[in-house]
């Protein structure tokens, strides 16, 4: 594949530089750390700060979700590699408005270690820190081992809900409770059709044979639950929906929010083709679809494929989900 590259080793710095230039109305670079992106209005006195972070290569995640009534500061790692503890710490500092900071991140070994170290350092500086670890990927471990599941696109709903609670004046404990409830109500599944490549490595580090698909693939190409012949979009959509809904707690009032994200190299029109069948499959279960997002919200470099995330809604989650927000990846306005 032909790429827009200068030096592959500089790709993350250049991505962050371009991102901050493009979206300077909403975000800025941290003063002391070029791997921390900060919302323009971060650190409001008395408001709980929201922090996330993760490896680069998932754009617009993670930094695209920094903005108004969304994430306050984002730590950016190398491609597919956790940010440093120092970057998480600097993000926590930038987000702190004196009411504590909620670090809402995904369940990966490196992120767990670096967040733990950063939280310890922040606490030593007198900043109260609490965390929620996203684990929405149903295929990464069984239902009896949810604590081992990794976090994927459901993190977007977790940030949205947690940040909305903070925007409404929630305490740190309330923000954590809402964000935890959001992720507990989210389930995701990914399907990979072709692998992704780290530019500095130059070739894909896993294979998906032509004519096959990897059902349950992870955000870094972690193998899924099984390899199957590539089916029709409608059949793939039905299978993805089944995997997600069979694992999901029954939504109160039968309402769900839906997110279909491309993995980086799938055309938008195909995502809508997929969504059409997904919506049919969800409604066939007697569920009503509320807010829907379809697009490249959480990608995996140039992987071909898509993820489906469904969040079971209740009154609290619906209300928080509809709160206005503005960040580069998501402009969200309350519906009339």
């Amino acid at each position: 594949m032909q790429r827009f590259l200068n030096n592959p080793d500089d790709i993350v710095d250049e991505t962050v530089a371009g991102f901050v230039r493009a979206h300077g109305d909403l975000v800025r670079l941290d003063q002391g750390n070029r791997r921390v992106v900060v919302a323009r209005n971060a650190g409001q006195p008395g408001r709980v700060g929201i922090v996330t972070g993760g490896g680069a290569g998932h754009e617009p995640a993670f930094m695209g979700y920094a903005g108004r009534n969304m994430v306050d500061a984002v730590a950016v790692g190398e491609l597919f590699s956790s940010p440093t503890a120092k970057s998480f710490l600097d993000a926590i500092r930038a987000a702190d408005g004196g009411a504590g900071v909620a670090v809402l991140y995904g369940n990966y070994a490196g992120d767990n270690m670096n967040v733990r170290m950063a939280a310890k350092m922040a606490e030593a500086e007198g900043i109260e820190v609490a965390t929620v670890v996203a684990n929405d990927d149903v295929c990464s471990a069984g239902p009896d081992e949810r604590e081992r599941r990794r976090g994927v696109a459901g993190e977007i709903f977790m940030w949205k809900i947690g940040a909305a609670r903070a925007a409404r004046g929630g305490t740190l404990a309330e923000v954590i409770a809402s964000a935890q409830k959001a992720i507990d109500n989210c389930r995701s599944v990914g399907v990979g059709l072709a692998p992704c490549t780290l530019p500095a490595v130059g070739h894909p580090n896993f294979q998906i044979e032509p004519g096959t698909m990897e059902l349950g693939i992870g955000h870094h190409g972690e193998p899924g639950m099984r390899v199957a012949p590539l089916g029709r979009a409608a059949d793939i959509a039905t299978e993805m929906t089944g995997l997600v809904l069979d694992d999901l707690p029954s939504p109160e009032g039968g309402r769900v929010a839906v997110l279909v994200s491309g993995l980086g190299a799938t055309a938008m029109n195909e995502l809508y083709v997929l969504y059409d069948s997904i919506a049919t499959a969800i409604e066939a279960r007697g569920l009503r679809i509320g807010r829907t997002l379809v697009g490249n919200y959480f990608t995996s470099l140039d992987m071909v494929g898509a993820t489906l995330t469904v969040m079971a809604l209740d009154d609290e989650l619906s209300e928080l989900l509809e709160t206005d927000c503005a960040c580069p990846a998501l402009l969200h306005q309350r519906r009339a």
């Binding site: 590699s81 490196g110 490595v201």
Partner: protein, 211 residues
Amino acid sequence: MASIRDEGAAGILLDVAAEIVAHRAYLSEIDGLIGDGDHGVNMAKGFGRAAEQIKPEDRLSSAMRTLSGVLLAEIGGSMGPLYGMMFAAMADSLERAEGLDADGFGQMLRAGLEAIEEIGQAKVGDKTLLDAFAPALSAYDAALAQGKDFTTALNVLAQEAIAGRDRTVDMVARIGRAARLGERSRGVPDAGATSCALILTTLSRSVARRL
């Protein structure tokens, strides 16, 4: 008793850094089989950047501290904190000891191993770098307990680190990214155990050469 001084021994760490940088592609290739293929890239970046800041005449402990700082502040991932904390603990131990005889070297490695166990929360058998490190250090201690000299014990350390790395081939990963693979992680060495074996064999060789 055979020993090396902390002063002027930073070349030992430069040898380790050169070995890691030389194995950049190899480590990434191994990592790519069951991980995400960035281990070599990130390790080479961290060890390479640290090496640029270290002069051979520096103290070994200060060289370790420099490397630790780069790994913790610039590399991230899992390996940044794991090796970062390991080298910080080894530098602490070395500064307390003022020099390295056979026992002091073992204590330094023990401090490094304990730092990794504390931050990483993995256990021996989980298919991680501990599976190269822990048995190698036990064998080193056992060799000394049997009255072997420093040089012989260093050779044992290197051999057992490689043997430990090779045993990870038959293990199923239980922590880290490869753990998501379950049985499918069998048949490939662990990338962390591979880099750990490189670090230990180079440390062993470089220290032995200076005795």
